[in-house]
């Protein structure tokens, strides 16, 4: 019975494991003042995601940046969380991509080059985060994660659960200590 339960949960968790994909957060840099974070999501665009974007499906990358205070004994304490997203929508009529970058607050950009689209979608450059209460002498860690908002599929196809992995990705949390000179 125990083996059966383990088997069932393994099967349950299998899709989640597959969905985790291979996308990773790279090129993370932090500058001051004010506190700005730059990073890049490597391998965010799989072939299927490219196809999905080119087929006109609105596609969004969701980025999460967190700053946690590191505690020795107790669990780390969250001191700030920022979420922003990059959205792309292909206009097949005009053969151009309309990209919206939340963090810039600017109007959508229309681009015809798909390479540029991928670059813009996967990169966050100088995103300003304004954490309060960062106390000198305390240790903090920066956590970054990127995930793709699952693409909305037409009619009943969305119940084919194993299909989700094709149009989805989620990176692991990228965790690194926040350099003290950035906030002291």
């Amino acid at each position: 019975m125990k083996k059966l339960i383990i088997l069932v949960f393994s099967i349950w968790l299998l899709p989640l494991q597959v969905m985790a994909g291979t996308a990773t957060i790279t090129d993370v840099s932090v500058t001051r003042p004010p506190l700005k974070v730059s990073f890049h999501v490597k391998d965010a665009f799989s072939k299927d995601i490219e196809e999905a974007v080119k087929s006109g499906l609105p596609t969004s990358f969701n980025f999460i940046v967190e700053i946690n205070r590191v505690n020795r004994l107790l669990p780390n304490e969250n001191t700030g969380r920022w979420e922003f997203r990059h959205t792309v929508k292909y206009d097949s009529l005009r053969d151009e991509y309309e990209i919206t970058l939340d963090e810039t607050g600017e109007r959508p950009v229309k681009i015809k080059d798909f390479g540029e689209v991928k670059r813009l979608m996967s990169s966050c450059s100088g995103v300003t985060i304004a954490p309060a209460h960062l106390k000198p002498g305390q240790e903090y860690e920066l956590r970054i994660k990127a995930e793709m908002d699952p693409v909305e599929l037409p009619f009943l196809f969305n119940y084919v659960f194993f299909f989700l992995e094709l149009l989805d990705f989620e990176t692991d949390w990228h965790v690194r200590p926040l350099p003290s000179q950035t906030y002291e």
């Binding site: 059966l4 088997l7 069932v8 099967i11 349950w12 899709p15 299927d48 196809e51 999905a52 080119k54 087929s55 006109g56 499906l57 292909y90 206009d91 097949s92 009529l93 005009r94 053969d95 908002d149 699952p150 693409v151 909305e152 599929l153 037409p154 009943l156 196809f157 969305n158 119940y159 084919v160 659960f161 194993f162 299909f163 989700l164 094709l166």
Partner: protein
Amino acid sequence: MNDNQKIEGEAKRRRRELLIILLVVPAIIILTLVESHVSTISGDVPIATNILIFGLINLNIILLILLVFLILRNMVKLFIERKSQVMGSRLRTKLVTAFVSLSIVPTVLLFVIVIGFINRSIDGWFGIKVEDSLQESLELAQNYYKDINDRVEAASRIIAVSIVAEGFGSDNEKLERFINRKLVEGDFSTIEIYSASGDRVLYSISDKINQNMVPDIAPESVVKALAGEASSYVQTMQVGDVVRAVAPVQVSVDGMPAGAVVVNYYVPLSLIDKMKEISAAFEGYKQLKLLKNPVKASYFTILLIITLLIVFFSIWIGRYLAKELTVPIHELAEGTHAVASGNLDYRINVESNDEIGLLVKSFNRMTEDLKTGKGKIETANLDLRRTNMELEQRRRYIEIVLGNVPAGVVSIDKSGRIVSINRVAAQMLGTGEDFALGKNYREVLRQEDREVLREMIREMTEVGLESLEKQMRVEVDGKVMTVLANLNALKDESGNYLGMVAVLDDLTHLLKTQRMSAWKEVARRIAHEIKNPLTPIKLSAQRLRKKYLDRFPEDDTVFDECTMTIIKQVDELKTLVNEFSSFARMPAANRSPNDLNEVIREAMALYKPGRKTVQFESSLDDLVPVLDIDRDQIKRVLINLIDNALAAMGDEGTVRVETHFLDEMQLARIEVIDTGEGIPAESKQKLFEPYFSTKKTGTGLGLAIVNNIIADHNGYIRVRDNQPKGTRFVIELPVKAINI
């Protein structure tokens, strides 16, 4: 764990499996329905939020896996049972195979056909022609936009160049006419001219539209143009799209533009909607194409699951039906085995109303009947055993009685087989009880006895007698016995002949006593009749000698010898008569406590002085207790025996008297031993009978008297040969507790 516990455990597991399957199957159906419903109503809800569906699907899969697990487990169990040759596994395998075969063929056929059909259908949906048509439609729409854009851009550049080339200067009317003409020629919506300072100096609008449809251009585009950079873009509005192109009016190559020309082309909303529809259709098609393989996979999966479900259910139903059949059969087989082993309390607990149930009920009833029958048999057996025991006790009692009666009893059945024979009869017939039992009397009896019996049977048969008595002589341990054989035919109540019973009475002692009495009578008469004339004869002979002996010459000795012979013979006759008289008048023993050894010493003392040449020895056991005996009679016994011994030895020899106390047998033994000539074997039998003597001068009464005296003392005398020579008389007297 015993067999019952195993069976109970197995039954519990089966019930649990059945319960799981009964829960899982409806759960799968209900959850599938719910999922379909939820998916339908979820509509535009993003999948990210549709965790419920995700969970339900996974739950469904888990339940399906659980079902598969149970079925596979049953299959493995069936395989193992078949390998282990568990009873019923063959039938179970056959039924499961039949069900699977019956279900799997149409199911797989249907599966293959449906998959092929779906494949063809989906491939048909995404056919090249459809894609090409949509692609071309989209390209048409794209070309339309591109064409307008090209026209607007070209017009803006041409107008800008023309303004410089024509040199309109400050002649705005001429410029206006030129612009209006270009507006009409190009079917543009509006044309605007901006000065170098960015002010609009001329505005021409087509009469086909109103000014609201084409809003003013963004100032930055004009600024960009005044900086020397031409541009074009599409501005989307609620009422439609406006394709704009801005070109600088370049007076000189190096100098700054003198102004800017803006050409706008209004694309109506109806047209845009149509193109958007084409675009949306193409995008939808592309998205569907993206899902082509997953859709196929999903259909394949669903069909596969349904197929597997059908197959699994077939297996399960096959197994269930097989179990319905084999379990009672197995139970019946076990029950039969148990009943055969003697367990009549075995009952089969299979609840079923079909023929199997009837069979089970019949079996249980049969077992119950058997148990009742067995109980009755056991009771009867018990009664029988009791009766047998009683019969056995009775038989043993009869055996004991027969064994202790002094007569011999032999019974034979009608075939001549010896049915019973007691110890005395066995002794008389010279056989053993165990040897004789069950054998035919012809095999057991001696030749002479067999002849006698056959003669008796023949006589009974010829005359038709029920019983017959006959005296016969038999030899037992070398002694001849006179036996009265009484042969009786045995018949049952109906008069059927069952066999015969022979009663053998030992008449030896009786005849001996009778003879003894007769001899005593003879002796008494002889003593009486002969003794009286003996005295006158002797006196007469003595007077004759006294009166006439002197008258005969000395050489004539006839008279003397004759008278002496008369006198001598008369004396001998007198002695003989006295012996007879003693024998005839043998008084009853007058017993009193006496020391046996002393009596023996006294008797021996009488002979020792007179017979110097004979050696008298004695070995007397001091342990011999005081006996209740007639002192004089015992002394006479010893005297008679010693007389006999001396007579047998002649002048020389040894007479030895021994006494022994046999404690365990409570006997006092006297042995009188001589070294004489001994007694021949044929004489030993008649030695103690009256008037039997091996001596020429013996009366033959000495040992008869000895025998009488010993018999009166409840003792026993026998004669044996002494080694190396001589005779040994052994007397045994019982020792009784005596109150002195």
